[in-house]
């Protein structure tokens, strides 16, 4: 793992921290003050999905223990037992109980820590539904299409490029004149969902031979704005680190 430019968390030490704050966290007592139980994040440094959770935790000023899973070397027993169905990071452990899937973790943090700033607009059902829709859109489209850009060549790659441009334009239209996707609510759910991909865009640009600033200038401007946000700056790695990582993946999968 390369030296992080910014420390991912306030408790990050590469080792386990001391015992939890409450003596007996039990999953059979959901009414126990959950805000007292320790948070542990199983993650992988460059994962945009893990970074969403780091961003959310930072936005909420929630302390947690960051545990790096070296996915290229194999998966730990703790990861496999915490997420037996998908065996993927990020996994948020809240006093022993695992929460899986990045967007589900984000909603869980909103609900389990109601006194902290929320990512979903708390009292606008329609805005909440829109946020869920667009975060789901990011999930369905961005990583998948981006991966095809660096995995494929020729006609399929050109198709992926056209799709990526379409995705960026669609997101730009949704953003419109707003500073953040969260609109009146400010930096929100969709912003947190998309922000980590800002470090992947330069790689997508290189492989796809396009410029975000040209095809979707609104998104390029948004990227700059979120990049200045503390929670995002602390959670992301520089784009050239992402580019190098893609190179490592390509070697691993035997892609030219």
């Amino acid at each position: 793992m390369p030296t992080p430019i910014h420390t991912p968390s306030t408790l990050h030490s590469g080792r386990h921290t001391t015992a939890t704050l409450t003596p007996n966290p039990t999953s059979s007592n959901p009414t126990m003050a959950s805000t007292d139980q320790q948070l542990v994040l199983l993650d992988f440094w460059v994962s945009p999905f893990g970074q969403r959770v780091r961003i959310a935790l930072a936005e909420k000023s929630l302390p947690y223990e960051y545990v790096e899973e070296d996915l290229l070397a194999g998966k730990s027993d703790r990861l496999l037992s915490s997420n037996p169905v998908h065996k993927k990071i990020p996994v948020l452990l809240h006093g022993d109980r695992p929460v899986n899937e990045s967007l589900i973790i984000l909603q869980y943090l909103d609900e389990a820590f109601p006194d902290a700033p929320s990512l979903l607009p708390p009292s606008d059902p329609y805005a909440r539904a829109q946020a869920r829709f667009w975060a789901d859109y990011v999930d369905k489209k961005v990583y998948d299409c981006g991966s095809r850009l660096w995995k494929l060549k020729g006609e399929p790659q050109l198709q992926a490029r056209a799709e990526m441009v379409e995705i960026l334009k669609t997101l730009e239209a949704e953003l419109g004149e707003k500073e953040f996707f969260g609109g009146e609510h400010g930096f929100g759910f969709v912003d947190a969902a998309l922000a980590p991909f800002s470090a992947w865009l330069p790689s997508y640009e290189r492989y796809g031979e396009f410029k975000v600033a040209e095809v979707a200038p609104g998104i390029a401007a948004w990227v700059e704005r979120v990049g200045k946000r503390d929670s995002v700056a602390k959670s992301l790695y520089a784009p050239d680190k992402v580019y190098d990582f893609i190179g490592v993946l390509k070697k691993k999968y035997g892609i030219e």
Binding site: P30, R97, N100, Y108, R128, A129, R132, F133
Partner: protein, 233 residues
């Protein structure tokens, strides 16, 4: 008119599990709406206007504003009609996270498997899809034990979010049994789900929203023809 109702329309497809689950939730809340059946093989102006991004059903249109993606719609229904009838989602944040996890699993893993079975051309493909679906259901059998805590439904004493997410697919399992001779939920392999499925079928709020197996079979024919024609291009 119930509080918060306003003008409510639902763009749907009678046999889509994603639409059926929304209709069940609205029925649970006792909310009335105008249902507008869509021709998904020949998408009309309404669908394109209200869901330009995906052009898919269901679309709930509340006071002229569209809500898309069935799981987001279920959450919206709870948000708007929270004090009416039973809650769709559980109250506890951790239980909500678990319910959302399995609902996403159903939509991301289970649905593509059985739809893949409908699309399959070769016997090999069919067998693969059958096995995939069976494997997914074994996970869901475990999920039921975890979520229900000994109670009747995933949601506890009454039908909830996860019951709707899975339950809305049940009539299709019946149709697939007729088409392919496979019982995806059965007493031998998935005893908990088998008895849950019976209880779900009896639940008042959901009964009238379940389409007949014949309608599903009819649609399966159209779907296979449509898909084959598209693949041939």
């Amino acid at each position: 008119m119930a509080a918060g109702e306003g003008d409510l329309k639902l763009l749907g497809l009678l046999v889509s599990p994603f639409v059926v689950r929304v209709r069940m939730a609205l029925s649970m809340k006792g909310v009335s709406y105008e249902y507008i059946e869509q021709d998904i093989f020949n998408k009309g102006e309404l669908l394109v206007r209200y869901n330009p991004v995906h052009k898919k059903v269901p679309v709930l249109i509340h006071n002229g504003k569209p809500v898309c993606e069935s799981l987001a719609i279920l959450e919206y229904i709870d948000d708007i009609w929270g004090t009416t009838g039973n809650s769709v989602l559980p109250a506890d944040p951790y239980e909500r996270a678990i319910a959302r996890f399995w609902a996403n699993y159903i939509d991301d893993k289970m649905f593509p498997s059985w739809i893949g079975l409908l699309k399959a051309e070769t016997e090999e493909e069919k067998a693969e899809k059958v096995n995939q679906t069976l494997a997914v259901l074994m996970h869901l059998e475990d999920a039921f034990a975890l979520c229900s805590n000994g109670k009747a439904f995933f949601g506890g004493d009454s039908v909830g979010y996860l019951d709707l997410a899975l339950g809305s697919n049940l009539f299709w399992f019946e149709a697939l049994r007729e088409l392919f001779g496979v019982a995806f939920i059965d007493e031998g392999r998935t005893p908990l789900l088998a008895s849950w499925a019976e209880r779900f079928g009896e639940a008042a709020a959901v009964k009238e929203m379940v389409p007949s197996v014949d309608k599903a079979l009819e649609h399966a024919k159209k779907f296979r023809a449509f898909f084959a024609a598209a693949a041939a291009k």
